[in-house]
Amino acid sequence: MNPKLRKFIEFCKDFSSNKVALVAFFIFLLILFVAIFAPLVSPTDPYDLNTVSIMNSRLPPFSEDFSGNYFLLGTDGAGRDMVSAIFYGLRVSLGVGVLSGIFALIIGSFFGISAAFFGGRYESLIMRIVDIQLSFPSILVALIILAAFGKGVEKTIIALILVQWAYYARTARSSALVEINKEYVDAARCLAFGNTRIMFKHILPNCMAPLIVVGTLQTAHAISLEATLSFLGLGLPITEPSLGLLIGNGFEYMYSGDFWISIFPGVALLITVASINLVGDHLRDMFNPRLH
């Protein structure tokens, strides 16, 4: 059998040993599926003005309108079906969270590995910046950026990248420091490979395990932070209705007892974040019990 395939099967078996994490993983896959195919799986298009009727606004869960449309989770203030709004919202939330996570991973591991590789003043400078940034709570860093530069999709993503890159840089550096002293790096040096090639083709692949663990937990954090910022009106604009914005929209109807408009998007957010966290927790235990 192909050794890579065997390794993968072993990994799957190992992962399945924790039933909670396995269930969380399948829930996350389902959420991912719903988010990617939101236009196909949603009962209605919540942002198509032809199908949304203001007559249906604030219908409670399990209700039906006059033309026989069924609203499992009710409708919001503009008459949109909550199920569809949540599916589309998951798409935005996951999209922003994953995208910012990938960029932060790339930037953070670049600085982390190069810091470990070159050492000296360069390393001290990078790690000092990382330390200083990590001494500020993440919400404060995002708040400073968004308050000074205004809201928007790109700005929210930039803020989330800036919040996260330091965690990746620290993780990448500490695992690269271990790898650098191994023989294969010496061998690569003897072959006179370029620094870039050694750093990113030889060292980086061996640092991936801890980076993936940090990546899962950080993505959950980013999704939650984006929701918070959008709820506060600092994050995404109204044209990109993420789960945070949906919860914020429902907040004004809270006092009249229309709980479903902000509760259900929140439940979706909670399930998403918790499932990613549970998978991340288990991956952490599997890869490196000493991490954190």
Partner: protein, 336 residues
């Protein structure tokens, strides 16, 4: 011996000086960032001048604010004025931004302190229980709850609190600060019943993520302490288990927990922005969010500069305290 102490102290002094210089540098970079954000991205005239002003007024203010001068000169004036404590006046309230923020500071501090108190009161007993009986069902429920507490978005939990306790049950008020009482010269809403009823829900909401982390800390600490020799010794003397836990374990666990939680007090202030917005609590956090809505730029700039200064010096103090408490911190180049 004396020589060694001197060397140690001079190292310590050098360390403190470096950290202080770094703090000043961070403040300087932050002022560049905030100034750049307000003045270079977007139109400063539109942002800094009241939109209701007429043409003559606009030109007068442009000259007064020095917006017709080079950017470097403008930045210099911004710094000089900031040092004098002049961070501009609010468009909405017409009062100095600094004064507005200082007025709202007690409400935020009161909320943060009370939620710190709540989190310790709830989390320490639960954490000790979970550490003392790690295999019991209740401990597993407590630990699962703490993972859930990490995953739950604070603002959404706040909304649920309002729905359950204010809207459905009608037990507690959900918005604003209550009556303010005076005790020993301090004005606070914690000294009146009405005030306490107002502060309870927001403080509990703000305490949630702290509760989760303190439970984990306490549990880990308890599990470690319970294996120590002095606990075995206390038990062998025939001291009751109740006394062992309440006196010996609690006493030893309290010091590290109070240190960590106290040092993390800043994060409560940062997160109070969210809680204050949900519960319409009239603190600094709500002021900044309102100012962002209203494009009240002087207040935004002032708030950001104040909060950054606060954090930079808080971190400086934490660093210095840590060097006194833990000599390992002083080892150069240790970033682990």
């Amino acid at each position: 011996m004396l020589w060694f102490l001197l060397l140690k102290n001079s190292k310590m002094t050098a360390f403190i000086c470096t950290r202080f210089a770094q703090s000043i540098l961070v403040l300087f970079i932050m002022s560049l960032l905030v100034f750049g954000g307000v003045n270079l991205v977007g139109d400063p005239v539109e942002m800094l001048i009241n939109p209701e002003a007429d043409q003559a007024e606009v030109e007068r203010v442009i000259r007064e604010l020095g917006l017709d001068r080079p950017v470097t000169e403008q930045y210099w004036y911004f710094l000089v004025n900031a040092f004098k404590g002049d961070l501009g006046s609010s468009f909405i309230f017409g009062e100095p931004a600094l004064k507005l923020i200082i007025q709202r500071m007690p409400a935020t501090l009161e909320l943060a302190l009370f939620s710190l108190f709540i989190s310790l009161i709830i989390a320490i007993p639960l954490g000790i229980y979970a550490g003392y009986n790690p295999d019991s069902k209740a401990s597993k429920v407590i630990m699962a709850g703490s993972i859930l507490g990490f995953s739950m978005p604070t603002f959404w939990v706040g909304i649920i609190f309002i729905m359950i306790f204010a809207v459905q049950l009608g037990w507690l008020p959900s918005t604003g600060r209550g009556e303010i009482g005076t005790f020993m010269g301090i004005n606070s809403s914690l000294f009146t019943l009405n005030g306490l009823s107002h502060v309870f829900l927001p403080a509990l909401n703000l305490a949630l993520f702290k509760i989760s982390s303190v439970i984990r800390l306490t549990r880990a600490g308890t599990r470690e302490i319970i294996l120590q020799d002095y606990i075995t010794f206390a038990r062998s003397k025939g001291i009751s288990e109740k006394r062992v836990v309440l006196i010996h374990v609690l006493k030893n666990i309290l010091i590290p927990i109070v240190t960590v939680v106290g040092l993390e007090f800043g994060s409560l202030i940062a997160f109070s922005t969210v809680t204050e917005t949900v519960f319409a609590w009239p603190g600094m956090g709500k002021l900044i969010i309102d100012s962002i809505y209203n494009l009240d730029r002087p207040v935004i700039v002032a708030y950001l500069m104040i909060i950054v200064t606060f954090f930079v010096f808080l971190n400086l103090i934490v660093d210095i305290i840590y060097t006194f408490l833990d000599p390992r911190v002083r080892i150069k180049g240790d970033h682990q």
